[in-house]
């Protein structure tokens, strides 16, 4: 009986800690916000390798990619998680937009089809996440319905959210607009490309992941 109780309590505790230690963190947001650039920055900082390819043409990430066992350290604290980089969520996809960027009609249609599938997968995966990092381009108006819908949905599911205003190295960046749009969330302004303000980002990640 005692050995059964010991096994039971150790199993319960180990499951509890495993859940906390192996968090699933998802990078979400509209296309071209810099999700993959941030994923690459995090992976470079802690694993010394990239996670995915980056492009100026929207919907470069069309499949969910997961990097396992990233361990972020800050002083004595450690945060271990699996990072999911997701395709940007949009309400419309027009293959002609890709053609305007110089792609062939065939490739544009394929890209559009893959992008729609990617968005469907991103939405399906929302439920699986323990923490979500919303990556917004701070040079673009944050009041888009996609942003509001994703964040509203996460709030309804009680999933902790960290909102990141990316591209603060650019002149047009207006972090204040993001802060005004989402006053109930902690907003961190970063430049994933230049590695600016990443310490503050990791600090906030520790806070929301508690």
């Amino acid at each position: 009986m005692i050995s059964f109780l010991k096994k039971f309590t150790s199993k319960v505790f180990s499951n509890l800690f495993r859940r906390k230690k192996n968090l699933k963190i998802g990078l979400y947001g509209p296309p071209n916000g810099g999700k993959t650039t941030l994923a690459n920055r995090i992976c470079q900082d802690w694993l010394g390798e990239d996670m995915g390819s980056v492009s100026n043409i929207a919907h470069e990430t069309r499949e969910i990619t997961v990097k396992e066992k990233i361990v972020v350290k800050q002083g004595k604290r450690e945060l271990s998680f699996n990072l999911a980089d997701t395709p940007g969520i949009a309400t419309k996809i027009d293959y002609e937009d890709f053609m305007k960027k110089g792609m062939s009609a065939k490739n544009s249609k394929t890209r559009a089809k893959e992008a729609t599938k990617g968005i469907i997968e991103s939405i399906k995966w929302l439920d699986e996440m323990d923490v979500v990092i919303i990556v917004l381009d701070s040079t673009i108006d944050p009041y888009s319905q996609v942003n509001l819908t994703i964040i509203g949905n996460l709030a309804a599911r009680k999933i902790p959210v960290l909102v990141v205003g990316n591209k603060i190295d650019l002149k047009k960046a207006k972090l204040k607009k993001i802060q005004n749009a989402f006053p109930q969330y902690e907003i961190v302004g970063i430049s994933a490309k230049k590695g600016k303000n990443m310490d503050k980002f990791y600090e906030s990640l520790f806070v929301v992941s508690r």
């Binding site: 309400t91 419309k92 027009d94 939405i123 319905q145 949905n153 709030a155 309804a156």
Partner: protein, 138 residues
Amino acid sequence: MNLTLQFIPYSEIEGLSSIGRIRKILNIAKENKIVLLEGRLRKEEETELIKTTMEEINDEFKGIELAIIDNSSKNPDLLSRFKKGLANLLIGNRQGLTIIGPANIVKEIKKDPNKIELLANSGSLKKKKKKTTRRKKK
């Protein structure tokens, strides 16, 4: 340039399932009409609407533009939240307005707390008009 706006009172969707509500809205949007829905969908239905839209995108249907105007207070007190929650439970979320437009007609919806700007995609409308004229000639 013809723009058709179709108003859907909340009573028309309140008895429908989530799938039924999304289907109704999308079917109207796919007829190249702009939907003005009284109130708003549930949070999970809004996400499901995006997902279903993606499933139906093809060469003709390029997706939707979506905007929700909700005039309820951003920082309500506990009593207001309770009242709103109870009202939503009993009669549904009739507050505000949801605008859904097909992407080939509505280029962008710009939102402001007090006004809404709907930018029409005039090029696509002209193309559409031309197509219809040709069909008539046959």
